[in-house]
Symmetry: C2
Subunit: 357 residues, 2 copies
């Protein structure tokens, strides 16, 4: 059993995870157990979960509709009301079983119900395993603004069982893979080279690298839990990625993008910007663009899309005083935070992305 | 200047408070400052506040409608959206200027906006000064259930200026006075005797005792910030008080009660229950009932009111596993937490309250 000890809970990966899970339930002795899950996860993941669940109290399933558009305060209100009606108390436990929407939203619901009750996260998507599983960020979107409402609070425990990945369609695996590529870019040439050559739809080859990703993220967030400096590196590609994702959700003319698909585009754009502003090496920029475009379909943005995306940038949580601040790279594994980027270089980056061959 | 150092911020009382306030703003250097206040407070308290405000950035006023019924997630949503639209960022500061509704709700809005920004509380009611000013509890009601959604998070600073009390109608002062009486009952005969003889509408006599109340509460919450044990004593009279308050807000047949008015009734009922279950002395029970009924008008409850109130009890945040748990008193200053109380004794207590002469 692999284990990282964090502030509060622990992260467990694979072998022995379900023993650890049932042991923790015995220790916590919750009065009631509620499982927050979405329509899709309920269909594909609940039976695997229940097969491993041995605790004496039967869990009650609270189901929300699937999708990023459900990650809002209205869904929280429904859940808070259900918890109240079903008699959840301060010693009740919430288990979030699902992708990033479920773990982010369910973590917020638990952290604010009666001023905070315990919760356990069981991520079922690759994205949630490598990204949402550590760091304690939780929350919901406010209209088009991603994760605008939330707090930082760690779950008691995170259970990572890669068997859940068998339930995912390929584009969902690819979406999570984008975060692993990001960990490569901010961490080291070594990890970048391993990850870029991975066949992410083959779960057997994935497991070791997934675990390395969780450790890279965990090292960063334990050094800087409140994102004063180092943790900002985890936003590599996300400043533009979030705006692209929000825009794609708001508009019918382009397809809604998955989080990782938007971040993948954001990483190409940001690597170009890094090249222009900090001299990020040309050959590595090519490597990033080629590796990403091999796996992620290119998206067409017209000039009004790009204008809208730039407008959305100013709502990014990480901005201060109206300035849009980027994490850029001097080189793979060598970052610079709080970089201002002029609009014309962002426009150039979109040109580069459009025309890259 | 009187000062208590807490986890995060400090509480300042009277002399020199505004110097401390302006000094803190200079230190924090916020990018923008937003003042959350309600219609009533804006009318009566903003000019006093602005007279003392010397910082270079003009504060923007965000006004919410007054009253406990506004303390809900819908009001939070309005404020989160206003903050987003007006460009609030992570280095912005929120100042909550008002009574308990404003400080509780504004603290929650600040603690969850972009995963938490700094806030300063300036309580303007006696209740908010002696109760909401310390302890870091914040949040909103969920339907009829008081404070069901929230977290614990301390403000940077609490500014207590008793001059604001001149703006309060007498019933509002009396409402805050109930919490001071409670501090007496849970703390000592000495403080109880001083507080019960106070003329709470005379502000000059009030100041010293108010400060003592703040200290009593602060001593308790610093020993037990997450309400594992000792802090539960602060709920004396509140288990029934909250249910009575919720009921009075839901129904036209009795007048809506202020928080302190409901808690005052709750303290008589709970002192009776303490007498029956723990032998709380008869003469002190009489003293409690007489002192409270001297200042607080008796409310009539019919048997359907009482049934509804007992139903609401089970939603109390402090309950575990469907059991309604009370804080009771062996004597003044000598408590017992987690006491189960049979329904028939609660019914008897309402009888006692109705017939006390």
């Amino acid at each position: 059993m692999k284990e990282i000890i964090k502030n509060k809970g622990s992260v467990y990966c694979n072998t022995g995870v379900w023993n650890a899970f049932n042991k923790e339930l015995k220790k916590l002795k919750p009065t009631k157990i509620f499982v927050i899950t979405d329509t899709n996860t309920k269909k594909f993941c609940t039976s695997l979960f229940l097969n491993h669940y041995t605790f004496t109290i039967s869990p009650e399933i609270l189901e929300i509709p699937e999708g990023e558009t459900q990650k809002n305060i209205a869904t929280c209100l429904t859940l808070w009301n259900e918890l109240s009606e079903k008699g959840a108390d301060r010693q009740s436990l919430i288990i979030n079983l699902g992708g990033g929407v479920v773990t982010d939203l369910g973590g917020f619901v638990a952290s604010t119900f009666k001023r905070g009750i315990d919760f356990i996260n069981i991520p079922t998507s690759l994205l949630a395993m490598v990204d949402a599983s550590v760091g304690g960020k939780n929350g919901v979107d406010l209209g088009l603004i991603k994760n605008q409402i939330g707090i930082i609070n760690n779950p008691r425990l995170v259970i990572i069982d890669t068997k859940f990945l068998n339930t995912l369609p390929d584009n969902q695996k690819t979406s999570g893979y984008a975060e692993m590529l990001k960990h490569g870019l901010i961490h080291s040439d070594d990890y970048w080279n391993k990850v870029k050559n991975l066949n992410e739809t083959n779960i057997d080859g994935l497991e070791e690298l997934l675990w390395e990703s969780v450790q890279i993220k965990n090292n960063i967030v334990t050094q800087d839990p409140f994102e004063k400096g180092l943790r900002k590196t985890l936003n590599y590609g996300h400043t533009l990625g979030h705006a692209i994702e929000s825009h794609s959700l708001s508009k019918d003319s382009i397809n809604p993008l998955l989080h990782g698909e938007a971040v993948a585009i954001g990483m190409i754009l940001t690597s170009y910007i890094s090249n222009i502003i900090l001299g990020f090496p040309e050959d590595k920029l090519n490597d990033v663009s080629r590796s990403i475009l091999d796996k992620f379909k290119r998206v067409n943005f017209n000039s009004s899309d790009i204008d809208e995306i730039i407008k959305l940038l100013i709502y990014d949580k990480k901005n201060t005083n109206g300035k849009v601040l980027f994490v850029l790279l001097n080189d793979i594994g060598n970052h610079k935070i709080n970089c201002e980027v002029p609009n014309d270089i962002i426009l150039e980056a979109f040109d580069y992305y459009k025309n890259y061959k």
